[in-house]
């Protein structure tokens, strides 16, 4: 018995020291900046770290559907509302929650919009066990930065300098028409939202409520990723949670996507033209809430005007077809 206690104590001490070591090593591996070179992954989504504190009023969360569909700079141009897309390819809910926590450190968004594609995407227990401790022991996420290690960085405190002019949006000019067959066919069936996902959705909602933000669920148009089954289950979820739900795939919130021109990859993601339609609709919706301030005449937000100019120049350079000029001027 005495020996067993001794061994248990030894194991506990070993584990505590190990956690301490991992914590100490984490300090070495935490990126010192949010540039592409420093973060390596998802640097555009992390551009919000360099934005002024409490300067972003809306946060868009989700997978690639978000960064392809929502253009925060255009919302700013139309309504002066400042927003940011913390969206990454194949984002899963554990990562969404991470972004939410990070965002609240310096920002106080009044509205958080969660794109629903990822609500029904499976993520394994493996992901959960691997990624959950990353929040506390960042070496588990940034361990690959050993390739960039330099002693000069060792005693530097993190300082974020990369401001993303597109505010997390990705501009796609390609057109690859979608086949609409079977898209949003009527059914009463419901897709399955896993219990693991449900746990995370609850955590996201309670985090928003704790911080005084309104959570809105949004389904952007996609023939490949969305269907009536998913709509039904998301609607039921929204009703249960007591949050608003906008599904741009159904007629009630339709934005008139032309599937022969507004998608970049056969209905998987929208291109610039499709994004304009979604952005305008969501901008109008947010503005109608009447709680989000117009920052257009505020000098503290002049950086947004610069971003707007840059984006306009980029758009002109990238889009040269007749269709695009018709959309841009409309």
């Amino acid at each position: 018995m005495k020996q067993a206690l001794k061994n248990t104590l030894k194991g506990t001490v070993f584990t505590v020291i190990l956690i301490g070591l991992l914590w100490a090593v984490s300090a070495v591996f935490i990126p010192r900046n949010n540039t592409k070179d420093d973060w390596k992954y998802d640097y555009t989504a992390n551009g919000f770290l360099a934005e002024s504190a409490n300067s972003l009023d809306v946060l868009f969360l989700g997978d690639s559907e978000v960064f392809a569909s929502i253009n925060p700079v255009r919302i700013y141009e139309s309504y002066g509302i400042t927003s940011y897309c913390c969206s990454t390819g194949k984002q899963r809910l554990w990562y969404t929650l991470e972004y939410l926590y990070d965002f609240y450190r310096e920002q106080s968004p009044k509205v958080v919009v969660l794109e629903t594609d990822l609500l029904l995407k499976y993520f394994s227990v493996d992901d959960l066990i691997l990624h959950a401790p990353e929040h506390y022991l960042p070496v588990l996420r940034y361990h690959d930065r050993w390739k960039k290690f330099s002693f000069s960085e060792l005693f530097k405190t993190p300082e974020y300098t990369y401001i993303d002019d597109y505010k997390g949006y990705h501009l796609y000019a390609d057109i690859d028409a979608a086949d609409e067959e079977g898209y949003m066919e009527e059914t009463d069936e419901r897709a399955y939202i896993s219990r693991m996902n449900r746990l995370y959705i609850d955590a996201i909602l309670s985090c928003c409520r704790r911080n005084g933000s309104e959570l809105i669920l949004l389904s952007t148009p996609s023939t490949k990723n969305w269907n009536m089954k998913k709509h039904n289950s998301t609607q039921q979820l929204a009703d249960t949670l007591g949050v608003e739900y906008i599904d741009m795939n159904v007629s009630e919130y339709s934005v008139g996507i032309d599937w022969s021109k507004d998608t970049k990859d056969k209905g998987d993601h929208l291109n610039y033209y499709g994004a304009i339609k979604v952005t305008d609709k969501i901008g109008e919706y947010l503005n109608a809430k009447g709680v989000l301030p117009d920052h257009r005449d505020d000098k503290a937000y002049s950086g947004w005007d610069n971003s707007l100019e840059k984006m306009k120049a980029d758009v002109k350079k990238k889009l040269k077809t007749e269709y695009s000029s018709a959309v841009i001027t409309s």
């Binding site: 090593v25 390596k40 394994s124 227990v125 493996d126 361990h143």
Partner: protein
């Protein structure tokens, strides 16, 4: 609180012993439940945990395992009964009658063994090879412009069927030979068949090696726990730091055989051989380490194979339990068959004492390597892989006298260090060529890759764009090289008969903990996991 959803879908990842679900959820759960269970019930807990593991990975297909165990239980008991009857029947018989009665009983016993072989190999053939056989028949029909095409059914395969089928057969044959007694206890047999650490990738155990150990398991000892965990850690380093890091490079070159010159193909073949060894032996470390925690000693599957001086020796050190199975249940039965013995004695007269036995031995070797190739997968490249080793080993045996003469004439001592190193390098090159065909996506692709080594041998692709194109960078290759050096150093020490874990056990706690923390931090920092990496399934789980 219902936490069952945590294991929902866990089977997808649990085939890897380095998956988070296995290491931080399933294994601790098993150890805790096992530890708190009274000693007499531990064996049943171990069985329940094994079946739970199988069910999580293969769901309802666990039925295959249960039925397989039932079949060997019944066949074993039947064999045992026949052996008892035989004993009683011949007890008081005169010598000349004894033989006839014995033969009659042996015939019956053989029929039962054939039934067992038919059941298990038949099932394996149907589940694993139907697509391959029917696909080839369809290709043949198409070649003769025959308008008929056979429907190829798809079967769901339970995990580890290639492994537990061989274990089942070994049990029946061992009972037949009287090496083990027929077991009346279904639970014991089932535990022997299903012990969860070994079900995915082996080792292929014999009833005599593990059944009693598993049935008489005791409490978890602190020493076993630490030794087991240390071995798992070492395996993890091999798998996560080396094997998984090399995966993008290997995949790229083997998936695009026409896109690279001979130099890159050589690099990829070397990397694949390293990857396969690190992946499989790393997984074996996890398997044997887990078993060690429970106090169970499973047979080793690797014994530093790249120290081998011949291909024949290599296969005695690589996937040892599979090689031993083929040797005991195919090679020996074929060579000891009456006709083969006659063939050997007549060949001995005509060809002499060296070449004579090689005739029957060659036939047996052919059977072994045909089966070995096919066991690894339903594809012509696997059969080619088997035949390649058959030719190498047989020709190695044939030229032994000639090579001895050459060495004598050149005044080279076979025991000299230089010659040994030469033999090791030669063996390694031959193994790498075999692995190239093994990994290729079909025999055509293998030939294409191998051909390019000779027809397009250049290093013009080795520019600054090559590594990014292969999905790796110079740091990746450098850390693989450093880790390989660590593995090599450990192998050298092991080859000298020194067990590092025992040395570590005797050292003071500071040294011990520093070594362990260093190993853990090494894996955490240099492992290919999390962001930017796609988890790689254990390579032998697919066989």
């Amino acid at each position: 609180m219902d936490l069952s959803f945590l294991l929902a879908g866990a089977g997808k990842t649990m085939t890897s012993f380095f998956s988070m679900t296995y290491l931080f959820l399933f294994l601790p759960f098993c150890l805790i439940v096992y530890a708190v269970t009274p000693k007499k019930a531990k064996r049943y807990v171990l069985l329940a945990e094994s079946l739970l593991f199988f069910w999580l990975v293969s769901g309802a297909l666990v039925a295959y395992l249960l039925i397989s165990a039932v079949s060997i239980l019944l066949l074993g008991l039947w064999l045992g009964k026949l052996q008892q009857k035989q004993k009683a029947a011949i007890k008081d018989l005169p010598k000349e009658e004894k033989k006839a009665v014995k033969q009659a009983f042996l015939r019956k016993q053989r029929a039962l063994v054939f039934l067992g072989v038919f059941l298990h190999i038949g099932l394996l053939l149907v589940l694993k090879y139907t697509g391959f056989f029917l696909g080839n028949i369809n290709s043949l029909l198409a070649a003769f412009n025959c308008p008929f095409e056979m429907y190829i059914p798809q079967f769901a395969m339970p995990i580890g069927i290639s492994f537990f089928s061989l274990q089942a057969l070994s049990y029946i044959i061992d009972v037949y030979h009287g090496l083990v007694k027929a077991d009346k206890n279904y639970a014991r047999l089932l535990l022997f068949m299903s012990f969860f650490p070994q079900i995915v990738e082996g080792p292929i155990c014999r009833y005599g090696q593990t059944a009693e150990q598993l049935w008489n398991v005791g409490s978890i000892k602190y020493r076993n726990l630490t030794f087991g965990l240390q071995r798992i850690l070492f395996g993890m380093m091999k798998k996560i730091v080396i094997a998984d890091r090399l995966d993008p490079l290997v995949k790229k070159v083997f998936d695009e055989p026409n896109s690279f010159d001979g130099g890159v193909i050589i690099l990829a073949a070397v990397c694949y051989t390293v990857q396969l060894y690190m992946d499989f032996s790393g997984s074996m470390d996890a398997v044997l380490g887990t078993a060690e925690i429970f106090g169970i000693k499973l047979p080793e599957n690797f014994e530093r194979p790249f120290f081998s001086k011949s291909v024949s020796e290599f296969w005695k050190r690589w996937h040892i339990t599979l090689g031993a199975w083929f040797k005991d249940y195919i090679f020996f039965p074929v060579t000891s068959a009456k006709r083969m013995k006659n063939l050997t004695s007549s060949a001995r007269k005509k060809l002499g004492n060296h070449f004579g036995p090689l005739v029957a031995g060659g036939i047996a070797l052919f059977c072994v390597w045909w089966c070995n190739g096919l066991w690894h997968g339903a594809g012509w490249n696997f059969i080619f892989f088997g035949m390649y080793h058959f030719v190498l080993i047989l020709s190695g045996n044939i030229i032994t006298p000639a090579s001895k003469t050459v060495l004598q004439k050149l005044h080279i001592k076979a025991n000299s260090a230089g010659y040994k190193v030469f033999c090791m390098i030669r063996t390694t090159i031959l193994v790498i060529i075999g692995e190239l065909f093994f990994r290729a996506n079909g025999i055509g692709s293998g030939m294409e890759l191998f051909g390019r080594i000779f027809t397009d041998l250049s290093f013009r692709s080795f520019d600054q764009y090559l590594l990014p194109r292969l999905g790796v960078d110079a740091y990746d290759l450098a850390i693989c090289a450093v880790t390989l050096m660590i593995v090599f150093a450990v192998s050298v020490v092991n080859e000298k008969g020194i067990c590092i874990r025992e040395v570590l056990e005797k050292s003071n706690i500071v040294v011990r903990w520093v070594v362990l923390y260093s190993l853990i931090l090494f894996i955490v920092i240099f492992g290919a996991y999390s962001f930017g990496y796609i988890p790689v399934d254990p390579m032998y789980a697919q066989f």
